[in-house]
Symmetry: C2
Subunit: 204 residues, 2 copies
């Protein structure tokens, strides 16, 4: 039996379950801690919900399950994947690269880099975490890039992923200067045109 399920039950009996955005925030905080401690595979929805002091059903309600919770808590996506797609779409196609850099760097900076390190640890340790990332990118970004009218959408997705993940590695893990301390807009100016080429340019 899961050692935290007692705490879980107690929390519910005492009516400590927070409502609405509080529940969502509590689950995100708990998920970050539990994914960082246990990696993706061993982290359970039950453990995370117990840590947050809410019912496990709330995970499905707010995030559609463990995968969605991982995407938002660990990848620091501002919304559900579907809402992220909408946010990235919200602007001129030729500024798509800019929006990608700004969105990811701002989110990760806000979390102080610890979230990115948890992500890399999860991915390096557990094939399932990599599979979640793959599903996420595959499902949403491929469709997005096809929407830009580009061929070879799946290769383009992986090219963008390589650049975005690489920035995270250099800024938060290896911490090479000056990238580690660069202003977000310095990175946007430097990197966005390269992403834009991956999104809509000639790649062969």
């Amino acid at each position: 039996m899961d050692p935290v399920s007692t705490e879980d039950t107690t929390a519910r009996r005492r009516g400590r379950r927070p409502a609405g955005q509080d529940t969502r925030t509590a689950l995100l905080d708990a998920a970050r801690a539990v994914f960082a401690e246990n990696g993706y595979e061993r982290a359970t929805v039950r453990t995370i919900a117990a840590r947050a002091g809410v019912d496990a059903a709330m995970v499905n309600h707010w995030f559609g399950g463990k995968e969605g919770l991982f995407a938002q808590a660990v990848l620091q996506l501002p919304f559900s994947p579907l809402e992220l797609v909408e946010a990235l779409r919200d602007g001129p196609d030729e500024q798509f690269g800019e929006r990608i850099v700004r969105t990811f760097v701002t989110r990760w900076d806000g979390a102080g880099g610890t979230v990115f390190r948890a992500l890399i640890r999860s991915v390096a340790d557990r094939e399932e975490a990599a599979a979640v990332l793959h599903d996420f990118f595959g499902k949403f970004f491929t469709e997005l890039i096809r929407g830009l009218g580009s061929d070879r959408a799946q290769l383009r997705v992986t090219l963008c992923a390589s650049q975005v993940v690489g920035v995270g590695m250099v800024r938060y893990i290896v911490r090479f200067e000056p990238m580690a301390s660069a202003e977000v807009e310095t990175l946007v100016a430097a990197i966005a045109p390269n992403l834009q080429r991956y999104l809509t340019g000639e790649i062969d």
Copy 2:
């Protein structure tokens, strides 16, 4: 006392020390294993030399110390850092990006991705491994990029590093298709122009 030093002494007594290129190869193999098992910091020159069955002085002779051995064994550089610089320099400036992609991907592919995973594990676990990478890139690549006549050489180094490391993450760790199985020349065509922009283009 280091538990392997007895083995080390025995190896030397028995005259098993291989000569020349054999010593070098034996040290590289041993270093890969020991760095993967222990991470950068806890791996010692003595342990690596003992595993290889050679005298620890050979590490200095062939690699200039633990840092150089790490650079060649784990980063899979084909030569010493200085020789790598020469190899990358060996061609037209406008194909510099191509040479970077081809050199790193070919080397890492040859090692089956395990070397890259050991690198990431080392870097994620130990600040010193990150410092070695930093020294390596800082010392050699900044100079190289200045040689191309580019301003902001250090930022350009980190931009190139982010793209190269990101390709490694996607190809060997997350294994997103189609990048994970793409031909080297497909990656060269897709990525080299972006590296070339980081090396010599407008980045602000």
